[in-house]
Symmetry: C2
Subunit: 251 residues, 2 copies
DNA sequence: CGAAATTTTGATTTTGTTCAATCCATGTGG
DNA sequence: CCACATGGATTGAACAAAATCAAAATTTCG
């Protein structure tokens, strides 16, 4: 409830796809300036979402895609016994809401990990606009494909037999994603809890904790609470290689 | 090289989306009979693919989507050290080739597990047709979303801590998918090797073998080579529940 | 039929999980 | 401002499960 309605309106007016820093990662990338306004018209810029808020919940009605503008969002799915499987941690430039198009209901939940803002794009209106802008249509497919490919990194990580490999792979990928956004790849804050990370990696929290400690003891990273500094980028990507028992034994 | 060119032509002429048994699972589902012909025109029906052939390979140029008409196809991605991660086993009605739209090159390989036939749909021509048929456009999104959601089952499986749970989850899902296609859900042939299955589940081959033996010893399934009979559907889905140590201990 | 490949089974080792205790950062209320 | 409670994270010890190593059995295929 901080900030008046009025203040929010002003900031919304200021925003437009044309001047968005994420433009080239986003749906709008290949569109001419003129046509961009048509897309701009249907995009709703939502007020910032606070930590622990849900962007959407499993089972709720689906009608929009969301592009993350800033922050970090966790997606997960409920399992029969009450617990859940974390499916991803999503960063700026990434798209959410593709689940749910098929069944008109979201198949997963999206929870905000740190204050985030997103652009909401009503799905049917996007379809209407895209029908008249072939370049936009193609870009939508491209983005969807990109997300599809990125999802595959998850099973690749979980397929590794050693906890260290999984964590190294995660940290390495996280670091890479930061690079791609022009952020420091060697020093960052993890916005998810150890519990979330463990769940994501298919491990228990203790094992993740030990893997962090181990990487730190080996001088690969420095970790303080949720802050991570990558000390030896090379060593990290060595550990991220498919399970070679030699590597992770002594050192 | 079996079958003459002529024979193949005849069988191709006979095929059309309109009389395809998979129509309702496929892109064409909600399209009127008249418009269906336009889609029909761009679909290439490929001659049956033999076991071990590749539908496409990682790195090769992408230009089409593929709908599996019959058979079974395995997708996988190469890992830095030379081995690979199996990402999925795909059955009739499912779509392949969405990887590769973003980068114009396939990001994964698709290998035929048993004689299969697929419809090939040139991607840009599909776009052209869909631009004029909103119902087709929507259906494409729906199918893509469906595949997207189905991919999530993989990390859910890999997230389980016990080998038995992963295998049970796989068998249960496989059985369900058969039901959906009107096939016997309780008796089937697995077309993938134990090695492929182990890789897919994030386990080694010996562990998978033992899990099979164990499920058989418990009377849940009967397994002979690659043929599986589900004896106790209920017990199977109990084992497929998130890791409850009690369940899989004795019995 | 015989060779090669795949799968199963057994014994052993390694790793991760579980259980339990401690630590530590944070926030509360006296 | 400082005990104190709280939740999250780390660490340790015992245990269980899967990986590894090795061998035997079975199937597949030439």
């Amino acid at each position: 409830m901080q900030g008046t309605e009025h203040a929010i309106d002003i900031s919304e007016l200021r925003q437009s796809c044309a001047r968005c820093a994420l433009l080239n990662l986003c749906l709008a990338a290949p569109i001419g300036a003129a046509e961009l306004r048509r897309l701009d018209d249907i995009v709703k810029r939502r007020r910032p979402l606070a930590r622990n808020e849900f962007l959407f919940r499993e089972g709720s009605r689906h009608s929009s895609l969301y592009v993350i503008r800033s922050g970090a969002i966790k997606t997960s799915v409920l399992l029969p016994e009450g617990d859940c499987q974390v499916l991803g941690f999503h960063l700026p430039g990434e798209i959410l809401g593709l689940d749910g198009v098929a069944s008109e209901r979201h198949q997963l939940s999206a929870e905000v990990l740190e204050e985030s803002s997103v652009c909401e794009i009503p799905f049917d209106r996007l379809g209407e606009v895209a029908a008249q802008l072939p370049a936009l249509q193609r870009q939508i497919y491209r983005i969807v494909s990109r997300e599809f490919v990125r999802e595959q990194e998850h099973p690749v990580m979980m397929g590794r037999k050693h906890a260290m490999t999984r964590l190294a792979l995660f940290l390495h990928g996280f670091s890479e994603r930061r690079s791609a956004h022009g952020l420091d790849p060697c020093s960052f804050e993890l916005s998810m809890s150890r519990q979330d990370l463990a769940n994501y990696l298919g491990l228990v929290i203790e094992t993740v904790s030990r893997a962090f400690s181990r990487l730190q003891a080996l001088g690969v990273i420095e970790v303080d609470r949720r802050h991570v500094i990558v000390r030896d980028r090379r060593a990290l990507s060595d550990f991220a290689r498919p399970d070679e028992p030699e590597l992770r034994a002594t050192a």
